[in-house]
Amino acid sequence: MASRERVTVVLAGADERDLTKLVEYRKAGGFKSLAKARKMQPPGIIDELLTSGLRGRGGAGFPMGRKASFLAKDTGKPVYLVVNADESEPGDFKDREIMFRVPHRLLEGCLITAHAIGSQNVFIYLRGEYTHEFDVLRAALDELREAKLLGGVTVVIHRGAGAYICGEETALLESLEGKRGQPRSKPPFPAVQGLYASPTLINNVETIATVPAIVERGGAWYASLGVENSAGTRVFSLSGNVVNGGNYELELGTSLYELIYRIGGGIPEGRKLKAVIPGGSSVPVLTAGEIQYPLDFDSMAEAGTMLGSGAVIVIDDRCCMVQLGLRVAQFYQHESCGKCTPCREGTRWMVQLLRAIEDGRAEHSELDLLLDVCDRILGKCLCPLGDAAAMPVASYVTKFAEEYRQHIDEGGCPFGGESSLQGVIAPIDQHTLTPVAVIPA
């Protein structure tokens, strides 16, 4: 597996300069793309995006140019650009780094995209917990305003308040409209009826931050990076049992092996690799024997998983896979919005079953029941959250079936309290919120 020359697009120049400052960003060539874009006709920019093959970096991987071209025309309503900065996928912290290191590139991307779709209103829906990033973005926006670069476009940085589901685009729109962040039934798609029932383009931070480079160097150039169907670079978030955790911008098609061992420095303390979650906690797991796969959309699909949001979580041999299943299921139970039945009830049931398996209170039939519950959630929910809970857990049970069976046969966890996830307290466990009301007089 030959190492390629590192090409950076989104994080380009951030190692050399403090790109949070407008003057530094300009020295690095910043805002030339915006000037160029504003001289272009909007359809021309969308053509470049189409040529670039840029696919959404939030997780679904939908081509950005196509999404932009779906926007309803001549509706008499304003067109909105919404940036999904509600990064919350476990394992994912790339958008955060993009925002605190290259905020101006994101803003430049916003302004170019706004021009391309004829929008005067940009909303950046920022994860509420990201307070530092909020400060950085706001300072950058102030600089742009002062430098009169906004060109009449209003950019509002809107802070969320702690809800994973708001990363789902329609839930995000609901939340931005001041409601509970519960996903909408699609269609209508946001391109037709999005924010305030108006045509809306929603894209991830990394996607938007890629736009300036595409405008500057052309869609064809960007398409030449990466591999077929997976053009360009991605900022991979590497975490877990790995020596050098962090974000790494790599061309798509780089192998998991290369990321984990060459770049990430391998597994610490001489432990053995057990499993890898390649695209955030929502995707099926890969075993240690499957890391030869390249990180691109098609290869990951071939491996039976997904590239997702590019969050690679490395798991060593100290981790109990039942505990992993339980912790992941607890996350989704906690984050289920409660709107649709299978997700709300199913994730809770999954947690109960996994807890029973971990505690040695389960029978073999309950392994089948767990898989069946996953199957009954899969493909039946209003939004992808239910699938995101069912798919990974089902993959743990299938790929580590022996370990699951061992829990039942041995009447408890074979790790005997030595698992790295032993006893971990999930937020769902600490709900002191007693759902009991006072009786009105």
Binding site: F93, G178, L324, S420, V424, I425
Partner: protein, 156 residues
């Protein structure tokens, strides 16, 4: 009209529909009310945005960062999602528990610190992540906890 109501109306001016300002409004109301949202604050937000207090409560109770019950002067949140848990988040939680004498979800008797665990904070590569008063500390290992607690207790 209270000061808070006025401030919220100003924020609402940034949005095509005032209701959109509900999260910024609730963040602000929480800041003004010792880190939580008493019923009175929900009513004020409702007045400012032209919605019922019930509606405000419905929205506020959906989001983890908005507290409908009192919290301590300091809020310590330990991420215990997979990436952090793999590298010792539970040991961090346990040290906090020992140092503070409270379990996650509880506030110290003197009202200084509320300890919570949280879902993925978005610092996975720099784990374990601890968020103190909404500011990230990365990484915080179990052995770093006593000093951190001292800082919170001393800092008041």
């Amino acid at each position: 009209m209270t000061e808070l109501v006025q401030e919220i109306r100003e924020i609402a001016g940034h949005y095509p529909d005032a209701r959109s300002a509900i999260l910024p409004a609730l963040h602000l109301a929480q800041k003004r009310n010792d880190g939580w949202l008493p019923p009175q604050a929900l009513e004020e937000v409702g007045t400012a945005l032209g919605v019922t207090p019930a509606y405000v409560q419905s929205v506020a109770s959906f989001y983890d960062m908005l507290h409908l019950a009192p919290v301590g002067q300091h809020l310590v949140e330990v991420c215990t999602n997979v990436s952090c848990a793999l590298v010792g988040a539970q040991q961090v939680v346990e040290t906090f528990q020992r140092e503070l004498g409270v379990r996650p979800g509880e506030t110290t008797e003197d009202g200084t610190v509320t300890l919570k665990t949280m879902e993925c904070a978005g610092g996975c590569g720099w784990a374990p992540v601890v968020v103190v008063d909404h500011r990230y500390r990365e990484p915080v290992r179990a052995e770093d906890v006593p000093e951190l607690v001292g800082e919170l207790r001393g800092g008041g």
